[in-house]
């Protein structure tokens, strides 16, 4: 699979790069827990982080004029272990300079079809907006937050615990209903490219020019398994810094470990990130799909056992 990926990008003139796994700064996303470690180097003995994704480093390369790049590397997420999670996993991440989201989605579909070709007869691709899929599956509009409708849906689907769990947090309700209901209702053996995520779940994506309720973000699913996440990349340093500040404030108010903003990354954005789209694919999960495995531990040589 790795060889096939390298051939794919070589044919497209995308440069393979390597960036550090051990980093002086990390992302502020409150939903991502990181591993940190102390560098035993007096007098400062700095804290270094294992990357949760190579995104910031790769964007620094893009800002420095690298052109389109890809990387296959390890990423680390603390506190994550389960059927689809291992705290250390393999990411394929790439950025196409000048691509908009649609072009990148098409490329993702092409790559996945090629990689899965030896294992599955060619899989159909379904491009659908997050809102449409959500509506089709549940009858709820993810862009309009009406607590009573969401609650009624949860009751009707034997998920009454959602009331207390999600309260009046719109994003949390969306995560809950999506992961408990929508994901399970996707057609089998189909590559889903789910685009136009709600703005409240925009992460590092740009907001849509014409409709600020949605963002230029997509996710890839096969058989209900989330394989990857892509953005039309946010390049505005002020907007990026504001999102960092918001996430740091959230961390502070929720007793989560405090991290500082990645200044080198913000510098790079100020210098100028070219218009580009980027995506990260979880290769271990892709291998699970290819082999029909039930658990990520089946495709790892030595999974972390807890």
């Amino acid at each position: 699979m790795l060889a096939a990926i390298r051939r794919f990008f070589e044919a497209r003139d995308v440069l393979e790069v390597e960036t550090p796994l051990l980093c002086p700064a990390t992302g502020t996303d409150p939903q991502l827990d990181f591993f940190s470690s102390q560098f035993n180097f007096p007098p400062s003995r700095p804290i270094l982080f294992l990357q949760t994704s190579p995104e910031f480093a790769m964007k620094r390369l893009l800002a420095a004029g690298s052109g389109s790049i890809y990387q296959i590397c390890k990423a680390f997420r603390n506190g994550e272990a389960g059927r689809y999670h291992n705290p250390e996993f393999t990411i394929l991440e790439w950025y196409q300079v000048g691509y908009d989201l649609r072009q990148l989605m098409a490329e993702v579909a092409e790559l996945l079809s090629q990689l899965l070709q030896p294992f599955h007869a060619s899989l159909p691709t379904k491009q659908i907006s997050h809102q449409q899929l959500f509506l089709d599956a549940t009858g709820l509009d993810p862009l309009i937050f009406c607590v009573s409708d969401y609650q009624a849906y949860a009751s009707a689907n034997a998920l009454p615990e959602a009331f207390d769990l999600c309260g009046d947090d719109h994003a949390l309700w969306l995560d809950f209903i999506f992961s408990h209901c929508v994901q399970r209702m996707m057609d089998k053996n189909t590559i889903y490219l789910l685009h136009s995520y709600p703005a409240i779940q925009s992460s590092l994506a740009r907001l849509h020019v014409d409709d600020p309720r949605i963002s230029e973000r997509f996710e890839v699913f096969i058989n209900g398994v989330e394989l990857g996440n892509g953005f039309y990349e946010l390049a505005d340093p002020q907007e990026q810094e504001a999102r960092f500040d918001k996430e740091i404030a959230y961390r502070l108010s929720h007793d989560l470990p405090v991290v500082s903003k990645d200044e080198a990354f913000l510098q790079a954005l100020k210098f100028g990130l070219p218009d580009c789209s980027g995506v990260a694919i979880g290769l271990d999960r892709l291998l699970m799909i290819a082999l029909g495995s039930e658990s990520i531990s089946d495709v790892l040589a030595f999974p972390v056992r807890v």
């Binding site: 939903q31 994550e80 034997a158 998920l159 408990h180």
Partner: protein, 189 residues
């Protein structure tokens, strides 16, 4: 009682949920890449035996339930309660109809079984997987019957009724699987 976080949830852990003691069957970690992590947990309510699914936010904690299993000997029934004893300490417990439920039909006096205690009071009784009991009532078998084909109901000394092959007679001891309620074999005295 201790509290447990969702990370500690694993099969067999006893927790309190909606004021009832429950046992965890399965715990699945569910996390969107850019969203909140949940634990989707299958839980058996130890009072009712019902299995439900419930979701927790990862990292949430719940109170543990003081639930223990003890080997006990079934002593006798007084009509309202069933009395059990821990063989090595002679400690006695009385269980009501809810606690003994169907299990009691597999037990005769002096038999050993597993009692589940919640806050030291009987919650449920589990008979051994296999019991050996004498048949007290069944239709007489006809000559020439073999083990193949058919069967007939037989009442056992403990009160349970099971289907047995036609050749098995009153007074014989048979081995029964209590999980399925099926006849296994005759037991030679």
């Amino acid at each position: 009682m201790a509290t447990f976080s969702t990370n500690e949830f694993k099969g067999g852990l006893k927790i309190m949920l909606d004021n009832d003691p429950c046992s965890i069957i399965e715990n699945e970690f569910v996390k969107p890449g850019k969203g909140q992590a949940f634990n989707r947990v299958r839980i058996r309510n130890l009072k009712t035996g019902r299995v439900i699914e419930r979701t927790f936010k990862s990292g949430d904690t719940v109170e543990g339930a003081d639930v223990v299993d003890k080997e006990m000997q079934y002593l006798y029934s007084d009509g309202e309660f069933w009395h059990f004893m821990v063989p090595d300490t002679f400690e006695q417990y009385q269980a009501d109809k809810n606690a003994v439920s169907d299990a009691i039909k597999w037990l005769k006096e002096q038999d050993i079984c597993t009692m589940t205690l919640w806050n030291d009071s009987p919650l449920s009784v589990t008979p051994p997987n296999f019991v050996e009991l004498t048949i007290t009532e069944t239709d007489p078998g006809l000559k020439g019957d073999t083990s193949g084909g058919g069967g007939k109901p037989a009442t056992l000394e403990s009160g349970a009724v099971v289907r047995v092959p036609l050749f098995v007679q009153i007074g014989e001891v048979i081995k029964v699987d209590t999980r399925t309620g099926e006849y296994v074999s005759r037991v030679k005295e």
